[in-house]
Symmetry: C2
Subunit: 160 residues, 2 copies
């Protein structure tokens, strides 16, 4: 249970940090698809924070956070990358890359949390965690689709 709680606090910190970080990413996009995907994910992140609070409640705990060094590092890398680039396809590619690293961190964490919830017999928490896990996987897939579309467009305009 201790590890489950620790990871819940870690991911709550991470999601709250993303609420502050995603708007900068959105403001730097030039691709409409990417802008829409990130905007949708920002809304989803608010919802996920609400569901995390429910999970804390389901184990009779107050939602608290503990700093997630990994997410802090991911956000700091994304921020440095954006400071060094000008809005355009190159910057979009960098944003997709940064966002996919963030998604993969979340996929790994929610995957673990879901397994812990199953082991601990916390079926309500497990259901909510599976919902969030599937949303993160779907967000990652959307970013891959946007990247592939950009690669194909790029290939189409390249000289043979």
């Amino acid at each position: 249970m201790e590890l489950f709680e620790e990871q819940l606090k870690d991911i709550l910190w991470a999601e709250k940090a993303l609420i502050k970080a995603i708007p900068k990413m959105i403001s730097m996009t030039s691709s409409v698809d990417l802008n829409e995907a990130l905007t949708e994910h920002l809304e989803q992140t608010h919802d996920q924070i609400t569901r995390l609070a429910k999970i804390f409640n389901s184990i009779d705990k107050k939602p608290t956070t503990v700093k997630c060094d990994a997410m802090a590092g991911l956000i700091s890398e994304a921020s440095d990358m954006m400071d060094d680039c000008e809005t355009g396809p190159q910057c979009d590619a960098g944003i997709i890359s940064a966002a996919q690293k963030i998604e993969h961190y979340e996929i790994a964490t929610y995957g673990t949390l879901r397994e812990f919830a199953e082991t601990l017999g916390l079926s309500d928490a497990e259901k909510l965690l599976l919902e969030i896990l599937n949303e993160e996987k779907s967000a990652d897939q959307k970013l891959t689709n946007i990247a592939v579309k950009m690669v194909n467009m790029n290939a189409a305009v390249k000289p043979a």
Copy 2:
């Protein structure tokens, strides 16, 4: 090309950092399966560093690194977690969780690098990156299998 090089430097730093970090994780395991999986991945990481050097050579660059804040954060989180736990199933679960977060970071990065190599028409680099990407996915799957086996063993010894 600039973003491709940046990410290569980032992941080379990350892999080198893992060479130093994985032995501590191995020394803390109690599960034989987990010990073997991490030991195998440590050997694979050495091989991957060699292949990354080949990729640098293929674009006429010397292999150099740039600090990867995200991997530094992931390793620091793993290290803090291990400092707080005693060898045993709970600690194994924490190590699997930390290792899967690391794998997911690598999967996202190599996925992006492979896409960049494709866009840039770097077929030799693309081939090597796909090899590494598949190894990382397979390492992640092995960790999931170990976690599921542990969950099932745990469920089997629980009172009904």
